[in-house]
């Protein structure tokens, strides 16, 4: 049985839907990982121990265990304690938190690197510590780590394929479904790979636009 790419066109619709779901889950998880990363960084640096330590423990769990296992746990495991999440939501939580932990490591380091004079200047004007963090320290820290956060987001896009295992009809699962009907693994996995690559290019363009918008300030 040779290669025959003419099997693909009938599945354009399936694959397109998969692309859209992949974009949706990546975008939602990216947002969660971005804002969650900021929140985790602020907690790690400024929250009292009673909040900081449990949060750090959970973060450590997210970092030290396989994402696949986390997705299983959130989707199949939580049901047992009465939390029945839709697959998409479970996927966003798993991916989002997993990458939030990585983002928070970057943001923490960057927050510590923001000149001490910035906090002082803000406090001197009468801002509370929280206001100074929100208005002065965090925006500068985030700006400084946009490139590595962008890399994390690319990794997130690729790892979004994992949510196929809990039944989110994203690109990988869509390809698998097409293969289930046609037994044409190479063609459809190759098609999925090309589509991932295209999404990737789009995402890099968005990240670059974001970085350029922030480069003005330097």
């Amino acid at each position: 049985m040779g290669l025959d790419f003419s099997v693909i066109p009938p599945f354009y619709g399936t694959l397109l839907l998969g692309v859209l779901w992949t974009i949706a889950i990546t975008a939602a998880s990216a947002l969660l990982s971005f804002f969650g990363g900021i929140l985790l960084a602020v907690i790690a640096l400024y929250a009292p121990a009673i909040i900081r330590l449990p949060v750090r423990f959970i973060a450590w769990l997210f970092m030290g265990t396989p994402l696949l296992l986390q997705l299983f746990l959130i989707y199949f495991g939580l049901v047992q304690i009465g939390i029945d999440l839709p697959a998409f939501v479970a996927g966003v939580i798993g991916l989002g938190f997993h990458f939030a932990v990585y983002n928070s490591e970057l943001i923490q380091t960057a927050m510590l690197a923001v000149d001490k004079g910035q906090m002082e200047a803000a406090r001197t004007l009468g801002l509370s510590r929280r206001q100074a963090l929100v208005k002065v320290v965090v925006p500068q820290a985030v700006r400084d780590v946009l490139p590595p956060i962008g890399n994390n987001m690319i990794a997130l896009l690729k790892d979004s394929a994992l949510v196929s295992v809990i039944g989110v009809s994203e690109l990988t699962l869509s390809a698998q479904r097409a293969i289930g009907q046609t037994y044409r693994a190479f063609e459809f996995y190759a098609a999925a790979a090309v589509l991932y690559y295209i999404i990737n290019l789009g995402m890099e363009a968005v990240i670059r636009w974001f970085e350029n918008r922030n480069r003005l300030y330097r």
Partner: protein, 256 residues
């Protein structure tokens, strides 16, 4: 005993870092509209004293009063935070290294705090920014970012940012020390303008000529104590203390 008479009063200020005592029982009164310069060798505690006034470096003993209110009041933590944030709105501070917010335009540097803390509208904020920047001669740069400005321009914007809160008192910690010599004058001119407008100011400086020309009073500090204090003519021309004479002589030699 707690009644205050002067606009700014520092009473028996004491500050230690561990066993190192950097301020030893310093008292200082400043009247409304007065300008006081603090001079002294490196490490004498000038910055520490200045930063104690707005509680950026809290004292370990003594009191600071501004306009009849104690700045470093003894209050439970949460109440104290509210109180000190309120007090700091009345105390402008200008740093050696400007500390402008690099991610904000000149306009937003000036308006950020008033918008956040005084809840003024965007329109009022813009008017305020234009006024304050015009005052320091930086109106044309209102839409620039700090990275696009020279040191002297940055410091003038930093002064405008502090003034936008309409402070009762301005503190300057070596506002011109980080500047190239040719940029010092533009900042000095702004400070002189404030002096003419009767802004109450406490100025830590290494520039004796400037101190002599704008200040009502000069404090010479060494090793955490005020060694000598008086009008500039007296402290600079006829110092009574040996340590003051030594410092001024060394300073003159250093300047040559």
């Amino acid at each position: 005993m707690t009644e205050t008479k002067s606009f700014v009063e520092i009473r028996h200020a004491q500050k230690s870092y561990g066993t190192l005592e950097v301020l030893k029982d310093i008292s200082l009164n400043v009247e409304r509209g007065q300008i006081v310069a603090i001079i002294g060798p490196s490490g004498s505690g000038k910055s520490t004293l200045l930063r104690a006034i707005n509680d950026l470096d809290p004292l370990t003993g003594g009191e600071v009063w501004l306009d009849g209110v104690q700045v470093n009041k003894n209050l439970p933590h949460n109440q104290y935070e509210k109180h000190i944030n309120q007090m700091r709105q009345d105390i402008g501070m200008v740093f050696q290294h400007f500390n402008l917010f690099p991610h904000l335009s000149v306009r937003d540097n000036v308006t950020m705090a008033p918008k956040l803390l005084k809840k003024i509208s965007d329109k009022e904020a813009n008017k305020l920014a234009e006024e304050q920047l015009d005052h320091v001669g930086m109106l044309e740069r209102i839409d620039y970012y700090p990275a696009q400005l020279s040191g002297g321009q940055k410091q003038r914007v930093a002064i405008a940012r502090a003034l936008a809160m309409k402070p009762k008192l301005m503190l300057f910690d070596e506002a011109t020390s980080a500047l190239d010599p040719e940029l010092v004058e533009e900042v000095n001119l702004v400070m002189k303008k404030l002096a003419q407008e009767h802004m109450t100011m406490i100025i830590v400086t290494h520039e004796m000529d400037f101190a002599a020309s704008v200040c009502d009073r000069v404090l010479f500090m060494d090793k955490g104590v005020v060694v000598e204090e008086g009008p500039p003519e007296q402290v600079f021309k006829n110092p009574t203390q040996e340590r003051t004479r030594n410092f001024l002589r060394k300073h003159l030699e250093g300047a040559k």
